[in-house]
């Protein structure tokens, strides 16, 4: 009986292998359709952000096709994007990008998150594909010497540093001491280091840097440690859940820094305000993009136009995750049109030389493929809404923040 199973297994492999092989041969033809591929976290831990990213890509596709498609040389192509679910795991993302290569999909739009992007970038490099990352911010991705991965977003080291710059620039009185609370994943750590360096540059003293496990919803131990040091500003290098915990538990523990709180990533998301209510007020946050971002392009207009168009299409005001995804897609299209070719190598050349304004701000890459030319936006929660306060001001910075029980 056992023998039969060995053979069954072999036959299954043979069959599966055979049909896969024939499928691949057909997929080479592109016809009048230009194919992009994206491995996204549609299920699992990062599914929320994964789906926001997908919507951003979808909106790009929609607008591009409405405007007549992508012009390459004297041919016009319709844009199509295939999505696959990476289950929020980096190895699956890498495998999917490999599969896309076999289906002759050379242009890859990035997955969500630094880990998946890092895994995918290694494969992209090996296969001679081209990837524009929309949500892989960790600087280390771009410092591995890879030639074929570009990132439209400001790198992780800017996330916290931007808040420090803004506070130093416009807050009166300027805070003298800072405490940094950070999650322990790569992205958050890089951001925390960038923030600490910037604080020292601006003449502030970093009195404590405390780490907690990624995904913590209880940070009371770190807050209790920081409390007696009386920092003027508490900065969090965090994701949403940790960012919410810092504010919520500071309120519980009666921690009221003389200046206020600033956090990466968390404050601009609607959940932050919804979950915290009045406690969220006055919190500063950094964002890749807000509708006040300066710059415009032919496809999407200004940031405000983008917000309107996106809302008309999807019914929600866009979050920065949506915008960065659309921007990645836009950069790929601009580069392809500039190159006038669908050869990945030619498109890579034109990406390296890309220097343009867009609804997302400037898009231009340094020699590592990072978009260091785009400033991040600093927002503050005011009356239950994120208001851009720096570098271009939609509203005045409210400073210092009053204690929690007076809000």
């Amino acid at each position: 009986m056992t023998r039969r199973f060995v053979i069954l297994v072999c036959c299954a492999l043979l069959l599966a292998g055979a049909c896969k092989g024939s499928e691949g041969e057909e997929a080479g033809a592109q016809g009048s359709t230009l194919q992009f591929g994206a491995a996204l976290s549609l299920t699992g831990q990062l599914s929320r952000e994964g789906i926001l990213t997908k919507d951003g890509y979808e909106y790009c596709k929609q607008v591009v096709n409405e405007e007549g498609g992508v012009e390459v040389g004297d041919k016009t192509y319709d844009l199509d994007i295939t999505y696959q679910d990476d289950k929020s795991t980096p190895d699956v993302a890498a495998q999917l990008v490999d599969q896309m290569n076999d289906d002759n999909v050379k242009f890859i739009l990035g997955p969500y998150g630094s880990s998946s992007t890092e895994a995918a970038s290694a494969v992209v490099e090996r296969n001679g594909q081209l990837m524009i990352s929309s949500a892989g911010a960790d600087d280390t991705i771009y410092e591995k010497g890879y030639q074929n991965t570009f990132g439209v977003l400001s790198p992780a080291s800017e996330y916290l540093a931007t808040i420090v710059k803004a506070v130093s620039d416009i807050a009166q009185p300027k805070p003298k001491t800072v405490a940094i609370l950070s999650a322990d994943d790569g992205f958050s750590k890089t951001a925390a280091e960038g923030g600490a360096a910037q604080a020292e540059e601006e003449g502030m003293e970093v009195v404590a840097t405390e780490f907690f496990a990624e995904g913590s919803t209880d940070v009371s131990a770190q807050l209790t440690k920081v409390k007696p040091l009386n920092p003027d500003l508490i900065l969090g290098s965090v994701h949403l859940e940790e960012g919410v915990a810092i504010i919520k538990q500071s309120e519980e523990l009666g921690i009221n820094p003389a200046g206020g709180f600033g956090e990466t990533v968390a404050p601009p998301t609607p959940d932050f305000i919804e979950t915290l209510g009045p406690a969220a007020e006055y919190t500063l946050g950094s964002s890749q993009w807000t509708p006040e971002t300066e710059g415009e392009d032919e496809l999407f207009g200004t940031a405000e136009d983008y917000a309107e168009g996106f809302e008309a299409a999807f019914g929600d005001t866009p979050e920065y995750h949506n915008a960065e995804a659309t921007a990645a897609c836009l950069a790929m299209i601009l580069a392809i049109e500039d190159a006038g070719s669908l050869e990945p190598e030619a498109v890579r050349e034109s990406l390296a030389n890309l220097d343009t304004e867009s609804f997302f701000g400037p898009i231009k890459f340094d020699e590592n493929g990072k978009n260091i030319y785009k400033p991040m936006q600093v927002i503050q929660i005011q009356d239950g809404k994120p208001v851009t306060v720096w570098p271009s001001a939609e509203g005045e910075l409210k400073w210092p923040a009053p204690p929690f029980d007076e809000r």
Binding site: R126, K144, G145, D185
Partner: protein, 341 residues
């Protein structure tokens, strides 16, 4: 269980013309697997490599879980340790892959012995929970040693350019690595199942106290089984780490791997030689199919399939098919009849 396992250990004896045909087909299949990289797409080789990897993991679990009956829910700890040994040696100490692989295997064995001695005294759920805790705890330790392991940010094996100590084998290379490891794991399982050692393990599974009374050194047998399981798992983890290039503690010590090992072994048939392989092949292709066709629903479907499989196919595909041959039908409800309240 012991009886059925013993039956499955019979070596395929080509006693009839039909038998010869089967053996011939088997050989052809094997030759095909060796030759496959020439015929198949790169990414499909990667998928196949993944299938072989899980088959090896399930076989390794089967030695301690299926033969000895000790349901380890923390076998991923060996996988992670193997992976991190290779990554650390290659990234921090500039080693090449092959000596690092050997060390990874040794680490797996050593850790299995050290951990097995206290923990294999526990039985049933206690053993399951203890192994699970060791795996979770080990992940936290790796996270907390950033200077050595890169911490939560992960560690990258130098795989391109001048820094690469061993040139990256690519999809074809890893396909062969995983294939060879699977064949080794099959050979080991076959050998174990026919040895005195294997009979000791089955005796322990049946009734540990009686086994001890019969003069079997149960501690030694259990620890040896655990070490063997740890060795194969650590080697798999080591190859996997090199394939991934950048590894993260959350992934390398993910409970998902443990669960998949157990599910594959159980669905294929615990305590058999080919059961875990059948389970791994079936489940990997199924989950790949679901993922491609049900973009957002596939995890829910996968959960439902596990539930149904546990209720209706608890003896595994191999055992149920054997039953189908001898009685001409599968009695799905037998399990429920035997194990319900």
């Amino acid at each position: 269980m012991a009886e059925s396992a013993a039956r499955s250990t019979r070596i395929p004896q080509p006693s009839s013309p039909a038998g010869w045909i089967l053996v011939g087909l088997g050989a052809a299949g094997f030759a095909y697997l060796l030759y496959a990289p020439v015929l198949l797409l790169e990414s499909f080789l990667r998928t196949l490599g993944g299938v072989f990897m899980f088959a090896t993991l399930a076989l390794a679990w089967n030695i301690i879980g299926g033969f000895a009956g000790y349901a380890s829910f923390g076998n991923v700890v060996f996988f992670g340790l193997g992976g991190y040994t290779v990554a650390t040696l290659m990234a921090k100490a500039g080693w090449t892959f092959w000596p690092a692989l050997v060390v990874a295997g040794a680490v797996g064995v050593l850790f299995a012995v050290l951990m097995g001695l206290p923990i294999l005294r526990l039985r049933g759920h206690y053993f399951a929970i203890a192994t699970l805790s060791v795996a979770e705890g080990m992940r936290e330790i790796v996270v907390n040693m950033p200077s050595l392991t890169g911490g939560g940010a992960g560690i990258t094996i130098p795989a391109v350019g001048l820094e690469a100590t061993t040139s990256y084998p690519g999809n074809t290379g890893f396909y062969y690595f995983f294939l060879i490891l699977l064949l080794v794991a099959l050979a080991v399982t076959w050998r174990v199942s026919r040895s005195r050692f294997g009979y000791s393990l089955r005796a322990i599974h049946q009734d540990e106290d009686s086994a001890a009374a019969l003069g079997i050194n149960t501690t030694r047998a259990k620890v040896a089984a655990f070490a063997l399981s740890g060795l194969l798992t650590a080697l798999t983890g080591a190859i996997y780490a090199f394939q991934q290039v950048t590894i993260y503690p959350n992934r390398l010590f993910s409970i998902e791997f443990t669960v998949l090992m157990v599910v594959m072994a159980v669905i294929g048939g615990t305590g058999t030689i080919f059961g875990p392989v059948v389970g791994a092949v079936g489940l990997q292709f199924l989950s790949e199919y679901l993922r491609q066709n049900y973009l957002e629903l596939h995890t829910v479907l996968f959960g439902a399939i596990i539930i149904l499989a546990v209720i209706f196919l608890p003896n595994g595909i191999v055992e149920s098919a054997r039953e189908l041959r001898s009685t001409k039908r599968i009695r799905f409800l037998d399990n429920v009849k035997a194990n319900r309240l």
